[in-house]
Subunit: 153 residues, 4 copies
């Protein structure tokens, strides 16, 4: 497991939650969700995180910026299966001027079980592909505590 | 099965062939290739068709044109399975100024079996999203017989 | 466009509705949803159709039956884009003993626009891969009118 | 970057190579390969690794065993783009009785550029889901040096 510098203690935090139902297309011949697909769920989790803080990730791209993935990691505990409803919990692990790290925990609903945990680190690039500071007001938004915000799916 | 106007008789024609090996990610919990993934193979087949005729589909996009899918169809006979090597045969079914229809037949190698057959119809759009004639020299290339061309993977 | 025998008039019917938000992973370099991914949404639509009628498609598989796709078709009108919320409307187009045809219409929320329309036909197979009648009580459920049922996501 | 115990020095080793061409379906609206798809390529790389050593991963599954992913990691340097031909280099990083770690490096052909590097760790499970030793002769095969074997695609 890899260390990550957390700006605040998140152990008691449920993060921003997103529910989704496992698609047939996401399973493989082993009968479980194919391992790469959890990273798709992580992406949905961080988009939801932004939305909860008051902006759409799309707005950042419309300004000519992109958050490109620099590193991605996942630890697999138990598999998700077709038709399961799972919750993706997304946390802010680190926020710097030009870099942001999200953490994720995916749990199955019902008798709650942690299925996978992951982390992704992103750099902010401008349209020319240069590393830039995350522009305002997005950087300020990202530094807020999502639990203080009202949810809107 | 749907009628399509063919510019020439293609029944004896093997079309342009592309071999590929079935990926684990392409299977589903039924143990076979998920039905939507054959359309991904069709896309690879038509890209190979263009390549055989002397151009890359990418060049068309670099000029500001796109071939957008207007219609797609697939008939499923037998499933492809993990690690199978299959051949995608791609045919030109129809070529008009602003529209092109490709046909596909996917067969398993070894004791040859037809797995699926399909068809996709594409419109040519410019950067502004207007329907346009397929630009030269691409339209002329597409009207050629690929079996007269040398292959280059 | 292909004819399909409808058991009842569905023109005024909204079918069974399922909302979903477009994922980044579902887009392609053209900036729109990749054409094969609409078939994934169709699968979610028919699973929701079953759920609304009182059973999970999974239960059918747990009894050793499968509904395999025999034919799939999609007509593309306008593209869905990242972060759009779309509604998949699913209809029963035909129900026979061993065969079922679903129809689909995907619309964008907001100023409602039809994006794509499609149809899939499925055969019922047993564990040995033989074509069988859709087992009871599933066949009976499928013949019911979903608008008479209460929704449960 | 994470440490991994290597059984032998692999720095000068090209590993087992697999070439593939980037599919349109693998790109996203940023115009590059979606970050989760590199894990699909890793899976193809390790299947090729097994093949080079004289067995198909499928044979292991046919005996009732599975190599399930316990951990996956990827570091992204530069993006792959549509129609690029890339080479996936796969290495054995660690081989224990019940666990195997593969390393990957994906490079673009032409002026060679490293695009991504990754690592996946797998546990061997039997049909009942219990952790087991990797069965013979597969464990013995995996311990061999692939560069001593003849290639067969």
């Amino acid at each position: 497991m890899r260390k990550s510098v957390s700006k605040r203690d998140l152990t008691a935090d449920a993060g921003v939650e997103l529910d989704l139902r496992v698609r047939y297309a996401e399973t493989d011949r082993m009968g479980v969700v194919y391992y790469a697909n959890y990273f798709v769920w992580f992406e949905m989790g961080r988009a939801e995180y932004c939305r909860r803080l008051g902006f759409r990730y799309l707005e950042l791209e419309e300004l000519g910026y992109r958050l490109v993935v620099a590193e991605a990691h996942c630890t697999y505990h138990k598999p998700a299966r077709y038709d399961d409803v799972v919750t993706v919990h997304t946390f802010l692990h680190k926020l710097a001027r030009r870099l942001i790290t999200f953490g994720y925990r995916v749990v199955r609903k019902g008798p709650t079980e942690t299925l996978v945990e992951g982390e992704t680190t992103h750099l902010c690039l401008d349209a020319a592909g240069k590393i830039k500071s995350i522009p305002e007001p997005f950087h300020r938004y990202l530094g807020q505590n999502p639990s203080r915000h009202d949810s809107h799916a």
